[in-house]
């Protein structure tokens, strides 16, 4: 994997701008999907709010970059995402999973409406301009690093106590509680961590847009795409969502520009198929095939 990372890091020197753009979107989706699976994959608390935090990141950057250097604005985006998620988490994660899902379902619309109102009534504007000139290559490298850190971070956490706590919560939260796990603290912390990554990604991507408004920033499609990528690839492994993100980004590049609504429909159907036929995602399928192949290999060797 380290080799792959180095290859990817050097790619921009040889590739066209178009290819770089696709990879930018790919890395963004990988980071988002991995962050989503980090919390929702393990705990089974399905968050439909990816778009909310993504949009928060975009907005914080759009506002902050006027006053502070870009890196500071990026950090601010991550922090704001973390705080908003902590508040949402503290109010809803103490209750049954279904309340959390319903709340995250509406969160994007809620924030969209609030920001719209704030922009129109307080700031007398509907869109914001982004006055930066960050070259695509830098965005590429930044997102590559973020995606790698998210995947490695997710893998690392799965090996330490926190990872066990997350999985236990997803398996049987009552058992987790009675085994000494502070389930509320674990849930809120991990939800907020995953949200801060999402906000960071949104902020970085915002650097590519000349201007943004609330409708561009807060679009439920992001929640949905990320969900598909994570489930298609398999939310159980750290590298699963990354695998799922690849076909998704390719498909989106082909369809989304010309037929955005058809893309939505195709995604929806694809999604329904995943839930019914591939509950563990592609990674589980791959692993099963791999183990079967490995069993065959060891069998032939002993004969």
């Amino acid at each position: 994997m380290a080799l792959g990372a180095i290859i990817l890091a050097l790619l921009p020197m040889y590739a066209s701008n178009y290819v770089i753009s696709i990879f930018i979107v790919l890395f963004a989706n990988v980071a988002l999907a991995t962050a989503w699976a980090f919390f929702s994959g393990a705990t089974r608390y399905i968050s439909l709010a990816t778009a909310s935090f993504f949009g928060i990141g975009i907005y914080v950057l759009a506002i902050a970059h006027v006053y502070v250097p870009v890196p500071v604005a990026l950090a601010a985006a991550a922090i704001v995402g973390f705080l908003v998620a902590a508040v949402v988490g503290l109010s809803t994660l103490r209750l049954r999973g279904v309340y959390f899902v319903v709340f995250t379902f509406g969160l994007t619309e809620l924030i969209h409406q609030i920001i719209n109102w704030w922009e129109i009534n307080v700031n007398k504007t509907t869109s914001r301009y982004i006055f930066t000139d960050v070259p695509n290559v830098n965005i590429y490298e930044t997102l590559l690093v973020i995606a790698l850190i998210t995947i490695v971070g997710s893998w690392y956490v799965s090996k330490i106590r926190l990872g066990f706590a997350l999985r236990a919560i997803g398996e049987d939260e009552t058992v987790a509680r009675h085994s000494g796990i502070n389930t509320t603290r674990v849930k809120v912390l991990c939800f907020a961590l995953s949200a801060s990554v999402m906000s960071l990604v949104g902020a970085v991507l915002a650097l590519r847009y000349p201007y943004i408004d609330a409708s561009i920033a807060f679009n439920n499609s992001w929640s949905f795409q990320v969900l598909i990528a994570a489930l298609l690839g398999g939310a159980g492994r750290a590298w699963g969502p990354a695998v799922g993100a690849v076909p998704l980004v390719l498909l989106s590049d082909l369809l989304a520009g010309s037929f955005p609504h058809h893309f939505s429909i195709a995604l929806g159907l694809c999604f329904v198929v995943i839930v019914y036929f591939l509950p563990g995602g592609v990674t589980r399928l791959i692993l099963r095939l791999y183990h079967a192949w490995w069993a065959e290999q060891t069998k032939t060797r002993t004969h």
Partner: protein
């Protein structure tokens, strides 16, 4: 005086919210399916009414002859072929909720995508019975009043069915304990499928009623799904009697809040109420603790 008018308006609107939520409460309470694509059925009813009056120049209320059968059939098919496999493979309600949420979220995208492809994102509205009438001293539009009365009539009908018929008793039994209901000979699958379908039909009907006085677009579905979800959770899952009251509460708070604070912050106000209820009485306002 204006405050009183806003208040009455809130009650009328709230009655509608109660009706919208009623269908979802039936779907979740009896069939145990949390349908995130519910608002799209609502929208189907609204669009059918719109085309009925705009294209065919007929009374939009007649559109229910088309939208109810379609909504009923589609919902029934969805339950039979998409939901039953999930119900069968889920070990408990939480696992079922997770699967159902994902599938219905996907359906929501499919339906919304179809709506956008066919009808574009433009705002639609039409004028029907928009004459002012006097209710208890407040001036309201006739269409809102008619919609409210329709909602009350439907809610009363559902209440009577649940209370006084055998079918109603069976549905109430399933809501309380589906396993036990099955053990006393109730065909849970069949009733769940029919109730789920009825919920979809209710959604379409309320869509028709609301379309007479509120404009909508192909992306409006989400908003109504959210309102229905909020009312259902406030009333308590499976509690049909409380749904209308909780809907009225939401309508009044939204109208008063919109008037006192800002009309473009309705969702924020809805969520504010929602959070408050969740923090204080998560089992629902009308459940006996």
């Amino acid at each position: 005086m204006i405050l009183f008018e806003v208040f009455i308006g809130g009650i009328l609107l709230g009655g509608m919210y109660g009706l919208i939520a009623l269908g979802l409460n039936l779907q979740y309470g009896v069939a145990r399916i949390l349908n995130l694509s519910y608002g799209e059925f609502f929208l189907g009813g609204a669009f059918t009414a719109f085309f009925t009056i705009m294209l065919w120049k007929l009374n939009p209320m007649l559109s229910v002859f088309i939208s109810i059968p379609i909504a009923f059939a589609m919902s029934w098919l969805i339950y039979q072929y998409m939901m039953i496999p999930l119900v069968r493979r889920s070990p408990d309600q939480d696992a079922l909720d997770a699967d159902v949420v994902l599938v219905t979220f996907g359906l929501f995208f499919v339906f919304q995508g179809l709506a956008l492809v066919n009808w574009s994102g433009d705002l639609r509205g039409y004028s029907f019975l928009s004459v002012p009438v006097n209710v208890l001293g407040a001036t309201v539009a006739l269409n809102r009043l008619v919609a409210f009365l329709g909602a009350c009539a439907l809610a009363a009908a559902i209440f009577l069915v649940l209370r006084y018929t055998r079918v109603g008793a069976a549905l109430r039994a399933i809501t309380i304990d589906p396993v036990a209901a099955g053990l006393v000979g109730i065909n849970v699958r069949r009733f769940s499928a029919l109730t789920f379908a009825a919920g979809g039909a209710l959604a379409a009907t309320s869509g028709m009623l609301v379309s007479t006085f509120i404009s909508f677009s192909a992306t409006s579905g989400v908003e109504y799904t959210l309102k229905a979800l909020i009312v259902v959770i406030m009333a308590g899952v499976g509690r049909v009697t409380g749904t209308l009251a909780a809907g009225i509460l939401l309508g009044v708070v939204e109208s008063l809040g919109g008037y006192l604070i800002d009309p473009s912050l309705t969702i924020a106000i809805n969520f504010g109420l929602f959070i408050l209820i969740l923090l204080v009485r998560p089992t629902g306002l009308f459940t006996r603790a």
